[in-house]
């Protein structure tokens, strides 16, 4: 579906938004491709909602441009944009039935009445709400309201559908189920979705690409895999998933590999590095807990970084175990291990002296 040569559906160009001198969005540039399920991920106050509201047309950028499907939308009001928004609060009209809510946008578009009826019925059956068409929103459950909001936004066949924290108001079980339904629906319709969320799991499972925002700027854009395995900076590494951050200094760079001395771990760690620029000062090494192997015997051979420590904390979850291992200097490393073999006895116990090792290829070098 994604045509690499086609121009992006949405082009955000150097967009900045300030409120009373406070910068909410700071010269953000983004390309969103046609048919993508794109997620904007970030903590509260990172500017993601402001960016979304600018895409919808509720906020006007202080500077910069927003181009949607080749047309400059910067000065176009929300009611004239080929964009629809599903509100976090759903914002269903309480005095209208489900049917009337969904039909509202088509009526404003002056679609002929028989077509409205047809499209509303079609959309309601798509989100499995046909039998509830005559109900008022206050007689619906949270999940049903969410589907009405979705139907109301999609029935206008927007070029771009924006979803503001689409799953935040649902309870956990429903959320997992709805997540897959949403992704399925997006695949069926081929509409470009932009989801704003603070929940990294939601972004990872839903999106084909993620933009991580921090303090009004884009920290990284990439596929869920890229963002998780190749974080561009400390913020992304720490925000998405669990990670061990190890401060150190570069002692040697040779043959596409840097050696970083960590006093905290009392170890020299190797990491892939093609470009030594900017490494003269300190560097930060990162490694995900699940990439680390924990063992009582010294690992033999291979391209591995090895650290020694003592098990201080142990959490057994059945499918996996979490360890917190303290090195001699007091630094703590998190390790998670799948319990692949069936055994009631743990191979590693509290206060055991252990070796932690991970592949050089799993080691992340963070420059900033």
């Amino acid at each position: 579906m994604n045509d690499a040569k086609a121009p992006p559906l949405v082009q955000v160009r150097e967009v900045t938004k300030t409120f009373d001198g406070v910068t909410a969005v700071d010269s953000v540039s983004l390309d969103i491709l046609k048919g993508e399920l794109f997620a904007i991920l970030g903590g509260s106050g990172c500017g993601k909602t402001t960016l979304l509201r600018m895409l919808a047309g509720f906020e006007h950028p202080t500077s910069g441009k927003i181009i949607i499907d080749g047309a400059d939308m910067t000065d176009v009001p929300p009611y004239e944009r080929p964009v629809n928004l599903m509100f976090q609060s759903y914002a269903l009209f309480p005095h209208m039935s489900v049917e009337q809510n969904v039909a509202y946008g088509l009526k404003k578009e002056r679609v002929p009445e028989p077509q409205i009826r047809e499209r509303v019925a079609e959309m309601l059956s798509l989100v499995k709400l046909g039998p509830l068409a005559k109900r008022k929103p206050d007689k619906l459950s949270g999940g049903e309201k969410q589907r009405v909001a979705l139907a109301r936004a999609l029935v206008k066949r927007p070029k771009l559908l924006l979803l503001d924290e689409p799953l935040a108001a649902l309870d956990r079980k429903l959320r997992e189920h709805t997540q897959f339904e949403l992704a399925n629906l997006q695949y069926q319709l081929g509409t470009t979705f932009v989801v704003v969320t603070h929940d990294q799991d939601e972004a990872m499972t839903l999106a084909s690409r993620i933009a991580v925002m921090h303090e009004g700027r884009i920290a990284q854009v990439g596929t869920p895999g890229e963002v998780y395995e190749y974080p561009a900076n400390r913020y992304v590494a720490g925000f998405v998933g669990n990670i061990n951050l190890i401060e150190g200094r570069v002692t040697a760079v040779a043959n596409g590999r840097a050696t970083v001395r960590s006093d905290a771990l009392d170890a020299d760690l190797a990491v892939a590095c093609d470009d030594p620029a900017g490494l003269d000062g300190g560097a930060c090494i990162a490694v995900r807990p699940e990439k680390i192997t924990i063992s009582r015997e010294a690992p033999n051979g291979g391209e591995r970084n090895v650290v020694k420590g003592i098990v201080r904390d142990l959490g057994y979850f059945g499918d996996q175990s979490l360890y917190r291992v303290r090195t001699r200097s007091g630094a703590v490393v998190q390790v998670s291990a799948q319990n692949l073999r069936r055994s009631a006895k743990l191979t590693v116990e509290w206060d055991d002296e252990v070796f932690l090792s991970w592949e050089v290829g799993s080691t992340i070098l963070l420059r900033s």
Binding site: F58, Y79, E80, N84, L85, A91, H95, Y104, G105, A153
Partner: protein
Amino acid sequence: MSNESNGERSLRWLKRAVAVPYLWLLLFFLTPFLIILKISVADPVVAQPPFTPLLEWGADGFEGIRATFSNFAFLFQDGYYGIIYLASLKMAAIGTLLCLLLGYPMAYYIARQPPERRNLLLLAVILPFWISFLLRVYAWIGLLNNRGVINELLLWTGVIDRPIAMLYNDFAVYLGIVYSYLPFMILPLYSNLERMDLDLLDAAADLGARRWRAFVDVTLPLSVPGIIGGCLLVFIPAVGEFTIPALLGGADTLMIGRVLWDEFFINRDWPVASAVSVVLLLLLIAPIMWFQRLQSREHEAGR
């Protein structure tokens, strides 16, 4: 155990506390009404009090109940009262409509201000209550008089060469009603509009509605309870209004409040006066009952 009995005890206290205002209403609203009702079925006599008693006591005790509906019959036979009831309803209805047209934009404006500003503006709306109602109505006489502030100013600036008759006519009564009752329209409308979820307006805009359209489609229908509440608060007291037509109205301004006054104090026909007020009450109960039913239906729909 002790927690439960604590809860029960506080519930019992709550019930007692709630009983106080009910008793108050019973004593000071229902009792006078029953007295009025009693007088309305009596015959007028030249005596003190000027009506016949309901219960007749003879030499050998209780003789019977004496009640007549002739006062009510009189009200219906004499077209005069019917005309005045209609005129009062009309004046109150027009006054209410004017209050609504003026109060809605004001309430809307206040509700959309930042919270600190809202309280200041609301204070300004209820500020006139600090001064006695009667004094404020009198103040209008000073303003509207042929030699009042407004006419003097217009004459002095040369806009007019003879004073405009602004006092002692229907215009002055409407002005008085709108001025006096506007806060009663603004407050319920404000509390309704202030509660509205502003995301709904964004949603309407997102779905293709311009601002005015979004107002008509969303804000207006959702503010109907506020509109009805405000209108009842203005309409009901305005129908029976006495002070404003008496002080600002002309000789031809007929309102039921003035007729009541005349029957009581000039004709000293207390039974007819009482019948007039009983009929007025019945007339006004109808819209209240209608509103009640509308609200309970809405309440049920909400569940």
